[in-house]
Symmetry: C2
Subunit: 349 residues, 2 copies
DNA sequence: TAACTTTTTGTAAACGCTTACAATAGTGAT
DNA sequence: ATCACTATTGTAAGCGTTTACAAAAAGTTA
């Protein structure tokens, strides 16, 4: 019959006013202490901090950001979470964000362009201060809106055509070029190429790099050796399978636009009875952790994924601090990591 | 000299008052329309919706939740993002959450127990309405606090000792039991076992299932065949390697506590010169997508990961709606998926 | 010590929304 | 018409912070 005090509701959390009362100052002063305002007397500051400590006070984020403070939340839009690609990037993101004391609100498009439009809610609800878009599929659809609203965002592994966006990517063209060149040096001339989702800029750049290298090596570009994938292992498997069945003389090497596709290609090749690298060489792109775990260890073009995440966040935070910064475009260097999936080809018998 | 109107600030977003003004009603009415309150005249509702449409109005989340409404945000604590395990679970989570119109704020502990304590901020800042903990490493440290605050949370693939938590898991014991039994049926008696992080309940359950099956098959439990892993591929590789070098008569089969460990074991075995499954059989646990992509395709105990995510969210939402519900504990059925990584062993020659 | 400065602190008005309570409009019965 | 209800809408008080502005306190200088 006495449930006036401790009803089964949640325990009330201490507010800034509680702290103010306990420490005998106004809430404004508490706010100032907490936000590191300069002109607060040392003794007052201590008194307040003590009360904070004692009450276990933590500022209410919503109230803070409502009142014009910052929410310290950034939105992260990813295609999906089922491989290490995004995972590795987020590692960099987390590290950088932890330093800045920000939280992440996650949006997974599940590779569905329409879903990306939930960017609307991400922004419109005013919760996030900025947006990080990892390899979005259809950015052109909404980037204008973001810019128009002057909303800070950074594109990772994707670019928009207007060059008005902040972009963090790798040297995709060069990476593909170098890999192709390497294969050629090993004696390969029939080099197949598995593309990524061609809606993504990086995929196109890699394709161009591949073609340029062929041209440079005096190898004719044969369209039937270029098969369109979508960065997924499953697809890589399927299209490689089809390729192997249809290509008259088999390719002796396959360059995949990402590691996942390369894994798929490896499976298909093996299923077709080819040994790797004896019968066919395979190169991936990304160098996700698994690349060095599969058998044989995958030769691949490393993208500094973690670093890309870090740099992206750095730029985003800069942008949030001072929206005046002109858009930046950073291309981080790729690097060919040679492991066990490629082999010098015997001169034609 | 005229920058009074369009200074380079962000374009002001429409508020509920704008909508009210445009549609000629009070903001309270707008609020009611938006929250689906029953007693609003049809015509009014339409008028409001029109204005909403026209202004592109989206409610400000902070204000809403500050005012006592709901934030529609749930916190998701994951160990890391670099494999499909969490990815697959989140697929279920997303699906269920999309239905409920909730967003996710992501915390990655990076497998660092101390980081898990950021639960504090997750809760204390009042942003999230509930917490989903995926295989947390040290839940005992803070679960009490959560309960004390009556804060809704659900544990996935982990359990606390007090049985006071909502838990969603798979039938770990049975899964391991069945897998072991299967190996025995194929003639294996020297079956090694790679454990998961023993801080996690599921890992312990699987270990027990393995042991129970051995006992049931009249095979002595040999401790030297049980090696402690941590669910990571790298570790699986390393400890298997050591195992193969030290075990006098080699095991003829390895049961790993998750697919990642199994992949590591496969690599180690192969490196040791063993063929899979001819020389050694391997079984995983989880059935993440890759399991069917590796070569040979991995026989494994399937956990309905996606479903687990869904169920977990369902329970969490229930809990949020009515904190009165008693804690639930759901164990979803595992299933042995037989693929190509196991082989009947020849009778001892 | 008066007259200024400069620090330090308090007051109160937002921020955008929900919601208890009060008021108004509508409806059918009388 | 009038009354008694009920359906609908408006008013205004928060929610927990930040922050412009004003007031008070402490220091300086003459």
């Amino acid at each position: 019959m006495n449930n006036e005090e401790n009803s089964p509701k949640k325990k009330q959390r201490a507010t800034i006013n509680d702290v103010a009362r306990v420490s005998g100052v106004s809430n404004a002063t508490v706010s100032r202490v907490l936000s590191g305002y300069e002109f607060v007397r040392e003794t007052t500051r201590n008194r307040v901090m003590e009360a904070v400590e004692h009450l276990g006070y933590v500022a209410n984020l919503q109230a803070r950001s409502l009142a014009g403070g910052r929410s310290r939340i950034i939105g992260l839009l990813v295609p999906n979470l089922d491989n290490s690609y995004v995972g590795t990037i987020t590692q960099g993101i987390d590290r950088e964000l932890a330093r800045a004391g920000c939280d992440v609100i996650l949006y997974t498009s599940h590779r569905h362009p329409a879903n990306e439009s939930l960017y609307v809610s991400a922004i419109a609800n005013g919760l996030t201060e900025g947006l990080l878009l990892i390899a979005p599929l259809a950015p052109t659809t909404y980037l204008d809106v973001l810019r128009e609203q002057n909303f800070p965002y950074v594109l990772v592994d994707q670019a928009d055509d207007t060059d008005n966006s902040n972009v963090v990517e790798a040297t995709n063209w060069q990476g593909a070029y170098e890999a192709t060149h390497y294969l050629n040096q090993l004696g390969h001339t029939r080099i197949a190429f598995i593309t990524g989702s061609l809606a993504v800029r990086s995929a196109i750049d890699r394709l161009h790099g591949y073609k340029a290298a062929l041209v440079n090596c005096n190898i004719p570009v044969r369209e039937e050796l270029i098969i369109e994938g979508d960065y997924q292992q499953q697809t890589g498997y399927e299209i490689t399978r089809r390729l192997l069945q249809s290509a008259k003389p088999l390719p002796t090497a396959i360059l995949a636009s990402n590691d996942l596709s390369a894994f798929g290609a490896m499976d298909a090749a093996r299923e077709y009875g080819l040994r790797i690298p004896d019968d066919i060489s395979i190169i991936g792109f990304d160098d996700i952790p698994q690349a060095s775990f599969v058998y044989p260890k995958l030769t691949t073009v490393r993208q500094p994924l973690e670093l890309m995440g870090q740099v992206a966040i750095k730029i985003l935070l800069e942008q949030i601090e001072g929206p005046s910064h002109p858009p930046q475009r950073v291309a981080l260097a790729t690097q060919l990591v040679i492991r066990d999936s490629c082999r010098r080809i015997d001169p034609p018998e």
